[in-house]
Each structure stands twice: as C-alpha cells, then as structure tokens.
C-alpha cells in the first residue's frame, strides 16, 4: 500500500492506539494536518503549543498511556520546550510531533527553521529528525516504545515537510522497532533480595518512601501488602501522592520541604528507609549531610543512574518496582513495631494542634480551608490538577488522595501554567471523571487562554483559582528570607468572573468560608466548564517549611494558632 508520509504518520499513530492528539497547525506541518481529516483521531486545537504539551502530559498522567502533541516548525516547536521539559523531569510519557522545513532547506536558516532536535536534546529521552517518508512508521513505533519503557519520558519526532509529502510503501510489520541499544533491566538476584529483606526485618524504626514510581509501575498493591505485613509507615513524595491511600492508618503524608512535621521527624529518626520509585529530590531530603542520619537505606528504582546519585544507599535494587516488591514480599517478616507506631503518633499529636483545620472561622478565607472543603465535597475518584506555588502545597496537605493518579502536578520543573491545560488533557483521557484545576492567580494568567480550548471542545473542567493577589510562594520566600521586601510579587489581574464569562464559562467569586461549599456544589452541578475565583487571605503562609538546603527537621513551624487569630 502506497501512502504519503503524512498518512503513514496517522496510520502509525492509530495502530499505536492513539485516539486523541493536542496541537496547533502551521506551514511545515500542514501536510500532516490535511491527512488527519481521514483518520479516526480527535484533534484538540489548543491556544498555545505549551498548552498542547501540558495536555498531552495531563492525558498521560491520568491514564498511564502516552499523550501526543503536534506543532509546526520554528515558533510552534520552541513553544513546546517548557512542556517537554516538564514531562522529562516528572518521567511522563509524551510523544511530540513537529513539522520541519523541507530537508533540502535544513541548515539554511529557512523561514521558521529551528534546530528543535538540538534544542530538545537534553530534555527528551530521545528525539528524531525524519527526512524520508520511508522512516516515518519505524520512527513512530520506536518513539512509543521509548516513551513508555523503563523510566518513561518525552520523545520528539521532527518530520520535514517533504517527508510528509512524499509517498512510499507502508508496511507496518517491516517497520517493527529495532533499537540495538535496548536492554531489559537485569533481573535482581536472590542474594540482593535476601540482603534487602534482612535489613528490613532487622529494622525497628523503618519508613517507606513512596514516589511517583509506585504509580508508573502500578505497584500500589504490593506496596500496601508490604507496609501492612511489616507495619511500616509510608511517607509519600509530592508525585507519590495517591500511590498509598491517604486514609490508610499507616499513611504518614507528604515528606520534604512542605511535608508535615511528623513525617520529616519520622524520617530523621528512622533506622531504615525503603525508597520505592522516588529520586531523593532536594526538596525531599533537605541538607544531604544530615539526612536520615541513623537510617540504613534501600533504594528500589528502575533507573540505575538514580542509585547513589543524591543519597548513598546500603542496597540498590534496580528494576521495576512492582516486580521487585512482589519478589521481596515473601521474605518480609510480620512485625507489629508497636513502639515505633506509638512514637509517631506522639509527634503527630503535636502537629494536629497547629493544623489550620483547627483554626476558627474568623471571617478570613484561607486557601487551606477552600482545598479541604473541596476534598470533603468530592469523591476519591476525582482528579485534581494543580499549578505551582502555595496552593500546590496546600493541596498536597489538605486534599487527601486515596486513589492513584488522582493528583496531577508539575513537581520537578515546577511549571507555572501547567494546571489548566493539564486538566484539559486529563479530562480528555478520563471524560467521565470529575476534573478540578487548582491554580494560583499568577499561574492561571500564564495559560488561561486554554479556557477557550475547554469551551470549544466542551470539556467540563472545574477551575478553582486561589486568588491571593500575590505570586504567593515567592512572596513567602521574601517574607522568610528577604525581610518582606516584596519585589515584583504583588500581582493584579482581571475580574476573573467576567473574564470566564466572556469565554462563555459559568463563573462565581467566593470570599467567605460559608460560600465555599455552595460554590463547589454549584460547579459540580453545572455540566460545562466552571471557574470559581476564591479570594483568599493575601499574606498566608505554607507551614511547615524546611528552608532550601536546611536540615529536614529544622522546620519553620506554624505559629501557635491562638497567636495567629488573636488580632481578630
């Protein structure tokens, strides 16, 4: 069968199971767009190519499948860079397809020619420049293998215009991927497993650190079995939230910079850490020199380059988490560890008194209240997508996730502007799920143009703007570390309700606690997209906080609640 390169592109994507793509057309990708009309793939027209990449990312994270974004050459391709980097740092499998100028023009600074494979070299797992129609099918197949396999990540395929236009024989079977550098993870030896099990069984104060790898590998069940059998409390990373049910008695909560005090205290007092698919990010460890000083460390990760990268470990088990945990389980002894549980409960009690949930309703609207109310009002299969900043941390603290993949957030790159487009992508992936974007007034203004996408595509995302009139998280750093000199953090914005309405979106504003639940109920009852402008306390602070690079237990704690509300 003879097809054009453009037809082969879609033919191949269809065979890879792709039904949704997010993109924006332009000259160099026009042949592909023209051919798209004949294939059973739905195209979501975005408003900015960064949005397309975040949508593909949100799509991927909501399902575990691969998200696909399409853009033209030059500015279309460079607009994708932030989204590709976001996916790279959070190990999210996306395939980005960009048009490129004709192959004979490459290197000539032709109109909208940019070296996008060069630009994205360090932020993709792999990338391709395709200059012949004959190479399209094989490249697409390889790209999907690479994006999904091992530690997932973004792959970019840059296809020249002539490769899209030329015709050749399409032979799917002949285009089977051949990746000579491909290796399967070497199965872990019985000896290594036995050693890890012995360390675990001997521990009196163990803590499990559960990361994003739990979701990626689908290791929720063996993780839970292991924790329950050996009575080991589980702390999660920001991206590990949902990998272990928040409502489980062994759940500690999020670790690290904005983790609750008892979580970090438990880690610092632990005599063993079992790290599962997490990469000891600096927001997780604080000062490495004083990190978990008494603990032996076991690290299970599929990426050999993560072992001993930040933290020196006593046992590194390289492999798929689910597989490793399943093989480890039979060797794990049942153990009550009552003294350790008691110790942790003790530390936890102190923090609960300082918890913002205990604050009286004093007329102020706190972001944490809004988020906690949203949690009360929604079910555990709701998908929450957050942006970056204070609201992101409050979400992690006050929305209690029981289900895997129910929180989607940009952790490693911390990309503001992520929430709205990623929520659109998540809604595409799981149209029946309730999807909320929680976003600051700063980040919202970065990608709010994608509201038009939601309207055009009838995607009923619910957007909760946590509007504090500041670039809140940066303001917080200025408060703590720059003597409250608020350089460039006070932020104005449009009337978000009018703005949303101008898009044809149902919207409301909330400024007192009593209106929070009714507004949420109203949003849930409405069957289109909704924006709620939550006008919260302007100079609120995320507690606790481990200053960057400080010891993990040197937390800035929430002041006594009486003091905080005393003025009112």
């Amino acid at each position: 069968m003879k097809l054009t390169g453009a037809q082969i592109l879609w033919e191949s994507l269809v065979r890879e199971g792709v039904t949704e793509v997010f993109g924006y057309p332009g000259g160099a990708i026009l042949p592909a767009y023209d051919a798209l009309l004949d294939y059973p793939i739905r195209h979501t027209l975005v408003r900015h190519e960064q949005g397309a990449t975040h949508m593909a990312d949100g799509y991927a994270r909501a399902t575990g499948g691969v998200g696909v974004a399409v853009a033209t050459s030059g500015p279309g391709a460079t607009n994708m860079v932030t989204g590709i980097a976001t996916a790279m740092l959070d190990s999210s499998p996306i395939v980005c397809i960009t048009g490129q100028v004709g192959s004979r023009l490459i290197g000539s600074d032709a109109f909208q020619e940019i070296d996008i494979t060069g630009i994205t070299l360090p932020i993709t797992k792999h990338n391709y420049l395709v200059t012949r129609a004959e190479d399209v099918a094989k490249t697409v197949r390889e790209a999907f293998v690479i994006a999904k396999a091992g530690r997932p990540g973004p792959v970019l395929i840059d296809i020249t215009k002539d490769a899209q236009q030329a015709s050749c024989i399409f032979d799917w079977d002949a285009a089977a991927p051949t990746i000579p550098g491909w290796r399967h993870a070497h199965p872990i030896g019985q000896e290594q497993l036995a050693r890890a099990a012995a360390l675990l069984n001997a521990a009196e104060r163990p803590v499990i650190l559960a990361g994003h790898g739990v979701m990626i590998s689908g290791a929720m069940d063996p993780l839970r079995q292991l924790a329950e059998r050996a009575h080991i409390p589980v702390a999660v990373t920001l991206l590990g939230i949902g990998g272990f049910p928040a409502s489980h008695p062994l759940n500690l909560g999020m670790m690290g910079m904005h983790g609750e005090a008892w979580v970090n205290t438990a880690i610092q007092e632990a005599d063993l850490l079992l790290a599962c698919g997490m990469r000891f990010d600096d927001r997780v460890t604080g000062n490495l020199k004083t990190y978990a000083p008494h603990a032996k460390k076991i690290h299970i990760d599929i990426d050999a380059a993560e072992i001993n990268k930040n933290v020196r470990v006593d046992a590194g088990l390289i492999g798929d988490l689910r597989d490793v945990l399943e093989r480890l389980l039979p060797a794990i002894a049942v153990n009550e560890r009552a003294a350790w549980a008691q110790r942790i409960a003790g530390v936890r009690g102190d923090a609960a008194v300082r918890d913002i949930q205990q604050l009286p309703d004093d007329g102020h609207l706190y972001a944490a209240h809004v988020i906690n109310d949203l949690w009360r009002a929604t079910t555990s299969d709701t998908i929450i997508v957050t942006d970056v900043g204070q609201h992101q941390m409050w979400e992690a603290q006050y929305y209690h996730h029981d289900a895997p993949r129910s929180l989607i957030t940009s952790g490693g790159l911390g990309t503001m502007g992520f929430a709205v487009p990623a929520a659109i992508g998540a809604k595409r992936a799981r149209p029946d799920a309730e999807v909320w974007a929680i976003v600051g007034d700063g980040g919202f203004q970065m990608t709010m143009c994608e509201l038009a996408t939601a309207v055009q595509e009838r995607l009923a995302i619910k957007v909760a703007i946590i509007n504090n009139g500041f670039l809140g998280m940066v303001r917080q750093w200025q408060e703590f570390f720059y003597e409250r000199r608020y350089a460039a953090t006070p932020l104005s914005g449009p009337d978000f309700v009018k703005l949303a309405e101008s898009f044809g979106i149902h919207a409301s504003a909330v400024s007192i606690r009593g209106e929070v639940l009714p507004a949420i109920a109203d949003a849930r009852a409405h069957d289109g997209p909704v924006v709620i402008d939550f006008r919260v306390e302007q100079e609120d602070t995320v507690y606790p906080m481990v200053p960057a690079g400080a010891d993990l237990d040197a937390m800035i704690r929430r002041p006594n609640p009486i003091a905080e509300t005393g003025a009112d």
């Binding site: 060069g118 070299l121 396999a149 000579p180 070497h186 199965p187 599929i302 050999a304 072992i307 001993n308």
Partner: protein
C-alpha cells in the same frame, strides 16, 4: 577524583557524538579527552572517553550512557590492564643547524619524522600522554608551530571476557549491569 577511561560502543549515526558530549556537559562531568572512530563491528563506532571523576561518578556515567538510546555498550577500563595510546603530530621550526638534533630527539622518543620542509619538520608520535608530553617539552625550545593530538584511545589487554570473539554485528549484553532505556 581521578581520570577514568571508558570504551563506549555507539551506533554509527548522525548526532550520536553530540548526544554523548551533551550528556557529559549536562551532568557536569569534565571530559579530559574524547576520541571516536570505527570499531570492529560494521555500523558501530567506538569512543574512548576520559573523564575526571570519582568511582561513584564513574558508575553514574556508565548508567547515564546506557540511557542514551544509541549507546550499545560501555566498559570502564580504568582499572583493567589496557593499552592506552595518544597520537600526536607536531610541527617544529627546523633549519640547517637544528634539523640533526631534532632527528636525534625523534629517535630517542621513538617518534617518526613524517615531513621535512626548508623551515620546519613534522614529527609523529604515538604513545602514552606522558611520553608525548615529554617529547613536547624538549621540542618547545626549538619552536613548536602547530600540534594536533587525538586524545586517548584504549583497548583492554589479552582475552578478557570483553575482548573475546563476538559474532559480527552483535554486542553481548553485559550481565553485570542492569539498565533501562
């Protein structure tokens, strides 16, 4: 921190050298030298990369290299008995008076004279970096006009597991290492 030598087998494709070099830069490793050429397998190039790092860094370099899709095999041959060579071409000022002593020097250092012109000669020397540095030092006073060096290339001695006969066109999987794409 010391110099580590890696033999890296890569697919012979456009851009692969760039990917490897970019990896070292991106991860903050300093390349002391990087030499590339064909290997014994058609379609496969072999690089010799010399990097300043510690043993932990050397392990991570190996793991990171394996993550590059076009990298087929990595051997850290730092501690293995190996032949290590650098090739230098050095153009030195030479006239009637100095030419004879330069020829003698070349002889002592086992270097070859590969070009003689009225005002200069070109010496070719292969050997360890230190030996070549030694030659260079004694040549300086004569006036070194130009020099080019390949950087280290290295191959393990004898018939270690790695250097046994391989089926052509294929590389064995190193059983000692786990890695993912």
């Amino acid at each position: 921190m010391s110099l580590h030598t890696f033999a890296v087998y890569v697919e012979d494709r456009p851009g692969v050298l760039n990917r490897v070099a970019s990896l070292f830069r991106r991860r903050g490793f300093n390349i002391h030298s990087l030499a590339v050429g064909h290997s014994e397998i058609p379609g496969v190039s072999r690089m010799t990369a010399v990097v300043q790092t510690d043993p932990g860094g050397a392990q991570r370099i190996q793991a990171h290299l394996y993550k590059l899709v076009n990298v087929l095999r990595v051997e850290d041959i730092t501690t293995r008995p190996a032949i290590v060579r650098d090739l230098a071409l050095i153009k030195v000022t030479a006239d009637q008076q100095t030419r004879t002593s330069l020829v003698q020097l070349a002889h002592v250092f086992n270097a070859r004279i590969v070009d003689v012109a009225p005002e200069s000669i070109v010496l070719e020397m292969s050997g360890s970096e230190a030996k070549i540095d030694g030659l260079l030092e004694v040549l300086r006073p004569y006036g070194v006009l130009e020099m080019v060096r390949t950087g280290r290339i290295a191959i393990a001695r004898g018939s270690g597991a790695e250097s046994t006969e391989r089926p052509s066109g294929a590389l064995e999987v190193d059983e000692g290492i786990s890695y993912s794409v």
